[in-house]
């Protein structure tokens, strides 16, 4: 008989070009709430997917109550009593809450669905969770917090004994988070064991008895929450010396290049103002849902804004679409490089020249020779690990794909470069190379805005840091005076209005 309800040993998971988990171990005691922490890309999400049967590990074993288990798919994990709560993936937007909870295991009598019984049972779950909506509500009309409750109700209905939550408080207001804490404790009191991933220390202090840290796809250690300090935890999460990682050159910072004033887009961000200067790297940070990506998408013209102004080199500009943005000298490295940044089916050469195809040719015709020369030049400039410019973009590793997107941006004549999570999903080696490139670009006089959720990256590379929380700018710090706790404080500073909810 094992003292652990869930145990994993030596789990290794490999994706093309990336080792997501490297001989990772983990133990979950029965009835405990266990926090899983680590930087982005440390391997937490992948680990969860292995536990829930979505991914199959190449090496390692998993034990449930001491018995070895081998899940062939998510269904097996569900049957074994493991439930995971993500943010939206498993919701049926067109169907009601009841249907979402019971899909696949409806209550039937002789083949006929018992709607009344199901609705009532669903309502009882919702009541336990203090939900403010009924089971007959349409899933697609609910807020993120409410959808999360439905997911939890689903887990309860399936009598899950191990419940895993992935960033549960990321999109919640303070009150909603408080509710979630109560629910989680209730679940534990009901006999379940909980694992949750979070970036927030307060989640951990409030709920967890133990915390496990992953770093760079490896298991670092498990600690008692009572016995560890923030500093120790951060050290475990970050590990390496910050100064080595971030080759930020000393750059003479020039005049203001881009300024946004009181940008507002209903439902996404409000009164956002900041500016960035020549040669400066502005770090834009905050938690998930802060509105950073939405803001830069608006600056780049992918989305519109309801009010506010933008100035380039002092002159007011309007950007209605990316074509406008590029023409004025603003470039963007999108957050999702596979769907927004690259055409995976194409060769890297064609990807790089796509934006400037018109200027590379003459009279409307494409000039293959000029294209190839340009593509070669830029691909070499960012030091891509590829053999020819005809290699398919899909065949490159995450880091190299990102470099291709950078090369694509450099093809245009720009003044401002916005990078949205430039090192997300990129291995350590390529990360360093991307930082090098950023430093070079700053030296060359570009004004750079970098969005990042990784604290060390923000601290290491930015000249100035702007912090957003739930659509508002909540703080601004200079390079010298910034520290992780400061930033976190701003990142969680909900507006008085929202806190009232």
């Amino acid at each position: 008989m094992s003292e652990y309800v869930l145990e994993l040993k030596g789990i290794t998971k490999i994706f093309p070009g990336v080792k997501a988990l490297d001989h990772v171990s983990f133990q979950l005691k029965p009835g405990e709430i266990h926090a899983l922490m680590g930087e982005n890309g440390a391997g937490k999400s992948t680990f969860i997917k292995v536990i829930t049967g979505v991914h199959k590990a190449e090496e390692g074993e998993m034990y449930l109550d001491g018995q070895k288990v081998d899940f062939k798919g998510p269904r097996d994990a569900q049957k074994a009593g493991i439930a995971a709560i993500y943010q939206h993936v498993t919701a049926y937007p067109h169907l009601t809450v009841t249907e979402n909870i019971f899909m696949g295991h409806e209550m039937k009598k002789r083949g006929v669905i018992q709607w009344k019984e199901m609705n009532d049972l669903a309502d009882s779950y919702l009541e336990e969770l203090n939900a403010d909506f009924k089971s007959t509500a349409e899933m697609g009309a609910l807020s993120v917090a409410q959808q999360q409750m439905v997911e939890i109700a689903k887990a309860i209905s399936m009598k899950a004994r191990i419940i895993i939550m992935d960033e549960p408080t990321a999109a919640l207001t303070k009150n909603e988070s408080e509710q979630l804490y109560k629910i989680t404790e209730k679940l534990r009191d009901g006999g379940a064991s909980v694992i949750f991933i979070s970036h927030r220390f307060e989640d951990m202090y409030r709920l967890a008895t133990r915390v496990t840290v992953f770093r760079d796809s490896q298991y670092i250690g498990s600690y008692d929450v009572n016995g560890i300090t923030n500093a120790d935890l951060i050290k475990a999460m970050v590990g390496r010396e910050i100064s080595d990682m971030y080759p930020k050159p000393e750059v003479e910072i020039g005049e203001e290049v881009l300024r946004v004033e009181k940008l507002t887009r209903m439902g996404y961000f409000k009164d956002v103002s900041f500016s960035v200067r020549k040669g400066e790297i502005l770090g834009l940070t905050g938690l998930v849902g802060a509105g950073r990506t939405e803001t830069v998408q608006t600056i780049y013209g992918v989305e519109h804004y309801d009010s506010g102004k933008m100035y380039l080199n002092g002159k007011e500009i309007t950007v209605k679409n990316p074509s406008d943005a590029l023409r004025q000298g603003i470039g963007l490295l999108p957050e999702d490089r596979q769907h927004q940044g690259l055409i995976l089916d194409w060769g890297i050469g064609r990807n790089i020249t796509l934006t400037e195809i018109a200027s590379l040719g003459k009279n409307g015709m494409t000039d293959e020779k000029a294209e190839r020369a340009k593509a070669k030049e830029l691909a070499e400039r960012v030091d891509t690990k590829a053999v020819t410019i005809f290699d398919k973009a899909s065949s490159l590793s995450g880091g190299n794909q990102q470099k291709i997107v950078v090369a694509k941006i450099l093809a245009s004549d720009l003044k401002v470069i916005i990078l949205d999570e430039p090192t997300k999903g990129v291995d350590v080696g390529a990360k360093a190379e991307i930082y090098e490139i950023m430093g070079e670009l700053a030296k060359q006089g570009y004004a750079i805005i970098m969005i990042s959720s990784e604290m060390p990256e923000i601290l290491g590379m930015s000249d100035r840091i702007v912090v957003m929380c739930e659509g508002r700018v909540t703080g601004e710090l200079k390079r010298g005076e910034a520290a992780q706790e400061e930033i976190l404080k701003f990142a969680m500073a909900r507006s008085p209005k929202a806190a009232k909810n």
Binding site: P74, Y92, H94, L95, M103, E106, I113, G267
Partner: protein, 333 residues
């Protein structure tokens, strides 16, 4: 915490409600212009003539719910109806056998389509485009470019469309069959897991797969069902028109899809109801029947139908945009 208003339920419910209101207004308008519209005789005539569309729309709803489409239904109907008709001509089979035959053939044709879409991974629009041609060509070929004429059908078969024995003596057979179909579908879609799975696959296929639902089976099922109903439609059609012609039911797919779209079935899957489909088919039927009665030349029918489809889908989009905008407003910043 802020209470989410539940007028969403009322709005989706009211999509059907607003359609009902529009229909009522339409009927009143027509009745005023031509008082013979809302008579038993006219209405029975209308339902009898449009029964096939009502029934096919149910099948199309299921296909659309899964996010697919089937534009081959006219050809499937023609082939099954023609095949059964030929057998009747040559072997004088009894009416029930004829019906069973056409339904079986239709189901088989639908199954083939389902397999090509799921296993062959051909997009539904291309697949049904191709089979539309194939089945239509085959229809002409088996008929050897001839008709099956009225005198070649059995009397009992021809009488099917005129008598009322399936409707307990009250309602015409065609209408009775339609009613039975609607009752069955209403029950199955709402009260059985089979029905829920169809919705699940269309709403979020990924989640459905994780829930253990076999997506391919569901899809093959809806196309087979569609074919089955086309087969039923084939017999109904030939009975009604007392003949089997190679070009029968050409273009019917447009009416059926229009009925579904107007009835609120989403083309991307996951949304739609039997009630909505009924109302949509009713709309198509009323337009077809009513327009000539108020002096609108039959030649304007298509144009009006096309316009209605376009207006219906655009209004849908506008309604969705308003809902989304309202959702955003609630997010306090």
């Amino acid at each position: 915490m802020e209470k989410k208003k539940f007028d969403w339920k009322k709005i989706t419910g009211s999509r059907e409600m607003s359609l009902v209101i529009v229909l009522i207004v339409l009927c009143v308008f027509v009745q005023i212009r031509n008082s013979s519209f809302l008579t038993g005789e006219t209405l029975e005539d209308m339902f009898r003539n449009y029964a096939v569309i009502f029934i096919l729309a149910l099948g199309m709803m299921c296909v659309l719910l899964t996010g697919g489409i089937d534009i081959s239904i006219g050809s499937t109907l023609a082939f099954s109806g023609m095949a059964a008709g030929l057998v009747m001509r040559d072997y004088m089979i009894p009416t029930p056998v004829s019906f069973l035959l056409s339904m079986a053939i239709g189901a088989g044709l639908g199954l083939v389509i389902g397999v090509v879409i799921t296993k062959g991974k051909v997009p539904p629009i291309v697949c049904t485009l191709g089979f539309m041609n194939i089945y239509r060509g085959l229809t002409y070929l088996i008929a050897k470019s001839q008709w099956v004429a009225a005198y070649q059908f059995t009397d009992s078969f021809k009488n099917f469309a005129l008598t009322k024995y399936l409707g307990f003596g009250i309602v015409n057979n065609m209408i009775a069959v339609t009613i039975y179909c609607y009752i069955i579908f209403f029950v199955v879609m709402k009260w059985t897991t089979v029905g829920r799975r169809v919705y699940a696959v269309g709403s979020n296929a990924e989640a459905a797969a994780v829930s253990g639902i076999n997506i391919n089976h569901v899809k093959m099922g809806v196309y087979t069902l569609m074919g089955f109903l086309c087969g039923l439609g084939g017999s109904l059609w030939t009975s009604l028109y007392k003949s089997a012609q190679g070009d029968m039911a050409t273009g019917i797919e447009m009416d059926v899809i229009a009925a579904c779209v107007v009835g609120g079935v989403s083309l991307t899957g996951g949304r739609g109801s039997v009630v909505g489909v009924f109302l949509g088919s009713l709309t198509i039927a009323i337009i077809g029947k009513a327009l000539p009665l108020i002096g609108v030349s039959q030649f304007w029918q298509s144009a009006i139908k096309g316009l209605i489809i376009l207006v219906a889908v655009v209004l849908n989009v506008l309604a969705q945009r308003t809902m989304d905008k309202n959702n955003l407003k609630r997010r306090e910043m």
